[in-house]
């Protein structure tokens, strides 16, 4: 018995790992008397894999049998791999026992499509219902919405899940058609929009009637695979922006494609996943969501790709030197946030602290500003007087010379000849 379950867990966890979402935040589901678990608003990462990704959820597939043949997926029909399937009881028991030992924050349940969408969704729903109703489990549950499942099933699942997600997979329709001819963006958009409408409706009702149950309290998310098809960064981020706006998504995940197939439409096995590019996309995503940048400022027709060697905020600043230097002691909070080397927390502290006197360099450093980077873009009480105005290329070379990129294995700067 224990050997078989170990085998199943290995197969089905391995197949689920390419789904990068592991967030456990955003739900404030409370525990009830005699129940187990609750939601933690900011989420908890219980451990990290050796590739540095957080592990907060037990991320498994119910089964890796699948009727589809998407080129980018390990579980595709034509792939010759071991197949397995959990029973409902096995998933429930694993979740409960891992949760009781504080290994995990909750369950992330996905599945290959067997038979048809409704049949699969029904099985997922069974697991969630058993957890919530029989085991009185109130921890986090992230459930995959199966595209094409009936609206009643999706709605019922939403009553028990904390987050639901559907993966967009490829940033553009043409990319998706290339690798997964059976799928389309429309299939994703429909259920996303349906769940979004339900979330709004439940929220409205809750304002009037307190006892209205929670419906997907941690919202929806989606994921795009990066580097499998030749999209530009601009296309990716504009798609992401559209989905954030239209469906109120909590997160869009960008997953650098890890080669798993000999298909000639895809990068060959053994090529490095595009980790830096993925990182730059996430940085752009953060700038859009928290720093008040519009996607067009960061990526437009003139700049369809993000710089690999510097982050998008710095590269925006270098393209727009007319806004700088910013005087830390008078500039608006919004403008201070846009300075490379100053994050949200430092910006807040600066705005609060400057009411009590002009800020100096040493104070900025203590507050947590990356001063060596920020100094090219700011003025403060004791900034040294500077006669010369530097060009953006010069500033870039100053910053690159001082900083060491975590991605560069060898120093690429040219040696001095004489």
């Amino acid at each position: 018995m224990s050997e078989r379950i170990r085998e199943k867990l290995s197969i089905l966890a391995d197949a689920a790992k390419y789904d990068v979402s592991c967030s456990s935040s955003g739900s404030n589901r409370k525990n009830e008397k005699g129940g187990l678990g609750n939601g933690h608003t900011s989420g908890i990462c219980h451990t990290y894999t050796e590739d540095g990704r957080c592990v907060s959820l037990l991320k498994i597939l119910l089964t890796n049998h699948c009727i589809f043949d998407c080129a980018y997926c390990v579980s595709r029909k034509s792939n010759d791999i071991e197949r397995a399937a959990f029973t409902v009881e096995e998933v429930v028991e694993l979740t409960m026992n891992f949760y009781r030992r504080n290994y995990i924050e909750g369950l992330f349940l996905s599945s290959g499509i067997f038979k048809n969408a409704d049949f699969t969704m029904e099985r997922l729903l069974k697991v969630v219902k058993k957890l919530r109703l029989e085991e009185r489990y109130n921890g986090y549950i992230h459930l995959k919405t199966i595209p094409g499942a009936s609206e009643e099933l999706i709605r019922e699942a939403g009553m028990y899940a904390d987050r639901m997600s559907i993966n967009l997979e490829m940033p553009t329709e043409s990319g998706l058609k290339l690798l997964a001819p059976e799928k389309s963006h429309k299939e994703v958009i429909q259920p996303l929009a349906y769940v979004q409408r339900q979330i709004i409706q439940f929220k409205e009702e809750k304002k009037l009637i307190k006892s209205v149950p929670k419906f997907v309290p941690a919202g929806q998310s989606t994921q795009m695979v990066i580097g499998a098809t030749p999209e530009t960064d601009k296309e990716i981020m504009h798609t992401a922006n559209e989905f954030y706006r239209n469906f109120g998504l909590r997160r869009v995940y960008y997953s650098g494609y890890v080669p798993i197939s000999n298909d000639n439409r895809l990068p060959i096995i053994g090529s490095q996943p595009p980790l830096i590019r993925e990182n730059r996309l996430y940085q752009t995503d953060w700038l859009m969501r928290f720093y008040g940048f519009h996607v067009n400022e960061l990526l437009n027709d003139a700049n369809p790709h993000l710089d690999i060697d510097i982050d998008p905020k710095l590269s925006w600043a270098l393209r727009n030197l007319q806004f700088f230097p910013v005087d830390i002691n008078v500039a608006s909070y919004k403008m201070i946030m846009r300075v490379p080397g100053i994050g949200i927390n430092s910006a807040k502290k600066i705005v609060q602290a400057r009411q009590y006197g002009k800020l100096r360099i040493d104070q900025l450093q203590k507050i947590g500003v990356a001063y060596n980077r920020a100094k090219h873009f700011i003025k403060c009480a004791d900034s040294p007087y500077q006669l010369k105005e530097y060009q953006s290329t010069q500033i870039k070379s100053f910053i690159l010379a001082e900083s060491q990129s975590k991605y560069l294995k060898n120093d690429t700067s040219q040696l001095i000849l004489f």
């Binding site: 391995d14 008397k33 005699g34 129940g35 451990t47 990290y48 694993l94 030992r101 290994y103």
Partner: protein
């Protein structure tokens, strides 16, 4: 004249030190732990006697001046048990009571900044404990974990574990500070174990573990292995998130005979 106030390490003692300094209009005061004190020839020292009334007055004055979020920072900073934190808390009280309202937002002041930063460290340690504690189930159904956090975070993590694990008995024991929290499905109690029991309890011995404990530990290790993507290996990032000093807690990081 310089003077050193010696207090016993309790919040009450620290607040009393603040009270005494105002009452005596003392200048140039240093606050030190009684047990760490090294007398020197040029400074006088005075031992602070705890008085809940005096401490209460200072505390309520703080509550009037500070938002709940700041009170939490103050408390977290106190739990760090660092000498410079005590000094800053003392100086912070003086700064706060002698300046107009809102002075706590002045991050240009070194004590304000130190408290904010120290509180953050403590909160981080608290969060790490919430994440890295791994319970082991004993034969009689008790879920146990022994910890030795950098800061005294047990009072901070109590609520989290009480709310979450409401339907199981658990015990979290701070091995260094020699006290723990025990929950019996009704309420949480502070417990002290005698030295012998404590030694035995750093980990539950295999013969006292629940029958399925080993199985779930192995399953968890399997899961940890198979969820890793080898092509993306990034050891630096890994150790940044899970510093090595916490590995001893983590079931998935223990080498075992099952493989």
């Amino acid at each position: 004249m310089r003077i050193t106030y010696l207090f016993d390490g309790s919040m009450e003692g620290l607040l009393c030190a603040v009270f005494e300094s105002f009452e005596r209009k003392a200048k140039q005061v240093k606050v030190e732990l009684l047990q760490h004190h090294q007398p020197d020839a040029f400074t006088e020292s005075m031992q602070i006697h705890n008085d809940s009334k005096k401490a209460g007055r200072v505390w309520s004055a703080l509550q009037k001046k500070l938002s709940p979020a700041w009170i939490r920072k103050f408390y977290c900073c106190f739990l760090s048990e660092r000498p410079d934190a005590y000094t800053s808390l003392y100086e912070f009280c003086h700064y706060l009571f002698t300046h107009p309202a809102g002075a706590e937002d002045n991050y240009g002041n070194e004590h304000v900044l130190l408290i904010a930063q120290m509180a953050r460290k403590v909160e981080r340690e608290k969060h790490r404990m919430e994440a890295f504690i791994r319970f082991q189930e004993s034969q009689d159904g008790l879920f146990y974990c022994g910890i030795d956090p950098d800061f005294n975070v047990l009072p901070l993590i109590m609520k989290h574990f009480k709310d979450r694990y409401a339907s199981q008995r658990w015990l979290i024991y701070d091995i260094n500070r020699n006290y723990g929290l025990f929950y019996d499905e009704v309420s949480v109690e502070e417990v002290h174990l005698d030295f012998e029991t404590q030694k035995r309890l750093q980990k539950i011995p295999i013969n006292a573990q629940a029958s399925k404990e080993q199985l779930y530990a192995v399953l968890w290790k399997d899961y940890f292995k198979s969820t890793n993507i080898v092509a993306r290996k990034n050891t630096k990032l890994h150790t940044q998130h899970v510093p090595k000093r916490y590995w001893k807690y983590l079931t998935e990081k223990q080498i075992d005979s099952f493989g």
